[in-house]
Subunit: 386 residues, 2 copies
């Protein structure tokens, strides 16, 4: 407490105190502590859900730890205050102060929102963070959310996901025709172009929808979260890689007025705590997806398969068309897309000689099991173009 | 300020105040503000050096922002208080409260220290963070530093580095024989086994050593930092990938007594601020290495080359032997090595179908320039073993 605050709190500021009061033994004055803020955070995740839900809980804990309890956040699962898909409105309208979700769920509020989670064939988690913090991404995201009365932060990342669970084999692009699948973001546009049917469902509804036959396929996150939902019990094929979600950024959104009511220190705490949560979720998924994949394949005998390259190539064409069309409708969306594309080109040239070259070399040296487009080859050295 | 602290500060705690004092107009009591801590952070980086040095400065800023100035850290470049390679001793002995460096510089204090930066053919940045925060790595690191009176945090990561700058071509393993090279950590053991000569130099000395012919080759970090040192002016060949440093974790070390003298909230701030800095440096390097590589190749016409696969395979054998020998000398070192190895095996199986498969697929689809072991191939689908 600063001196000025103390004086105000105790009412002693520069005033003489009556002698009647002073004659009595002095009772220790009641000192007003720092104003405590109690906030609610609604989420799009089932209560106590591993990974995504745990990430929201951890964010609340970091804020509490950093502020010594001055800013206390209570986390609510999907449906406790508002349903999973109403998190945006609840925070935007000030019903609650904070939300934890993913921006691509809000395409109906503006097509541009999808770009801040991930775009198909786009950036990995490490590349997304580079774009957000050092490529202008966060500024664009703040601009996109501003007129909704929201301040966004990146507050988690799943890493490269899985392509999803399918009750039928996918051998060519025709196999997607008529397929009823839950898939968000621009991946949904590609499925529509391939004559599939897009179904919108929150995570908590996936198991029963797949079991009842309401859907034929679903993507969710990756081995760790997919194992938790038991999706292996009701879908035979588990496809990779996640062409549609190469590094999905989870979001924390803060009601702008609530944020502005905080002292500067607590604003900093919310911002930096999000960055800790952003990194932490990726570390958790990276560690636990490894264990969960091992369990799925070796205990539950899941049929792990690569999507055929020709299917992926076709989906890429569909996706590009969908994104270009969407971006062309609005200059700001175009600006965001151009920013990501330019960043992707430069960062993938660098990752060709660093992350990707290293991982391929390591796999080759360790004689890692070779399968489809994961297999690196040793060729004559040729100078790359960067 | 808590009530108890206030009472102590003002001396009013439960005591009657003499009537003489009370008869006079009450002067507003002098309230002790929060105690302010002013700390020094020494670093192994040249003053104001981009990337690594900027990371240390940013860590200090985050701590200042989060504590509202209650914990103020002044950052010193290498040689300002102590030389680059005396950071460990300075913090351990309590000469200063904090240091920013890399644990593999301290192999003379204990071979185990090398494992907490990176090991050759080991974990990438994303995998290191997963191991540190969710694979038991941080606990082991704390244990390793405990008897030096130090508390370590992970406070930056360079991502996959480059193999280095060479004044001669490396076509087979014999080309390393007689080579005088600056290379830290276990990579140095492999060079020695290949009959090269290891030279220990701080970053600031590299340019002149390479220029004078005191060394024939040096690794440093990656395009962004290497460009800043101007290494392209004096060495012809720039080799990749960094077999010896696939994701180096930078460290913040805190004098244990100094840390324990902090209130719990400031301790939390130091820990979480390190995690922000850890993520931030990786994002910065990822973004800026892309730009710098483009400049090096297209403006400065640097000869960018892959190390021959046969050389890497041989270095891997040398490295394994060196690490196994070192680990066998001491049960704790063995424990740390086993922990990393077990983690690497599981996480690379996961990354085979996620990060690596995705990046290869993206490169294929974008018809990215193909060169040596970066080139993915499309094969018949085969179920992988995980």
């Amino acid at each position: 407490m600063k001196r000025r605050d103390f004086i105000k709190a105790t009412g002693l500021g520069g005033l003489a105190v009556s002698s009647a009061a002073l004659a009595a033994p002095v009772v220790a004055p009641v000192v007003q502590p720092h104003k405590t803020y109690k906030w609610k955070m609604v989420t799009s995740w089932p209560k106590n859900f591993p990974g995504l839900g745990a990430g929201a809980e951890f964010l609340a804990k970091i804020i509490n730890d950093l502020s010594d309890g001055q800013l206390q956040i209570k986390v609510y699962g999907a449906g406790e205050i508002v349903p999973a898909m109403e998190v945006f409105d609840a925070v935007s309208q000030g019903k609650v102060e904070m939300g934890h979700s993913a921006s691509y769920y809000w395409r109906n509020k503006g097509a541009v929102n999808q770009f801040f989670t991930t775009i198909p064939f786009g950036l990995t988690a490490q590349e997304m963070n580079a774009w957000l913090y050092y490529g202008g991404g966060m500024d664009l995201w703040r601009e996109a959310y501003e007129h909704h009365g929201l301040i966004p932060t990146a507050a988690g990342n799943t890493g490269v996901q899985m392509a999803g669970w399918f009750n039928r084999e996918i051998n060519d692009i025709q196999d997607l025709s008529g397929l009823k699948m839950r898939i968000p973001g621009f991946g949904a546009n590609a499925l529509t172009a391939a004559k599939g049917t897009v179904v919108t469902l929150a995570g908590g509804e996936l198991f029963s929808a797949l079991q009842s036959g309401a859907i034929d396929a679903t993507e969710w996150v990756g081995p760790y979260n997919d194992l938790a939902f038991g999706l292996y019990k009701i879908a035979k094929y588990y496809y990779y890689p996640a062409w549609h979600e190469p590094g999905s950024t989870m979001e924390c959104m803060i009601n702008k007025k609530a944020y502005e009511s905080l002292p500067k220190q607590l604003q900093n705490i919310v911002t930096y705590a999000s960055r800790v949560a952003n990194q932490d979720m990726l570390a958790e998924f990276t560690a636990k997806n490894g264990q969960a994949l091992h369990t799925l394949v070796n205990e539950h005998r899941v049929d792990l398969r690569p999507l055929p390259f020709a299917v992926l190539k076709q989906m890429r064409q569909y996706v590009d068309e969908a994104i270009r069309n969407e971006a062309a409708k609005d200059p700001f969306t175009q600006k965001v897309y151009d920013s990501i594309e330019q960043f992707r080109q430069q960062v993938s040239a660098w990752h060709d000689v660093s992350e990707r070259a290293y991982m391929n070399m390591r796999a080759l040296i360790n004689d890692s099991k070779k399968f489809d487009y994961c297999t690196p080859v040793v060729e004559e050295a040729r100078p790359p173009t960067v």
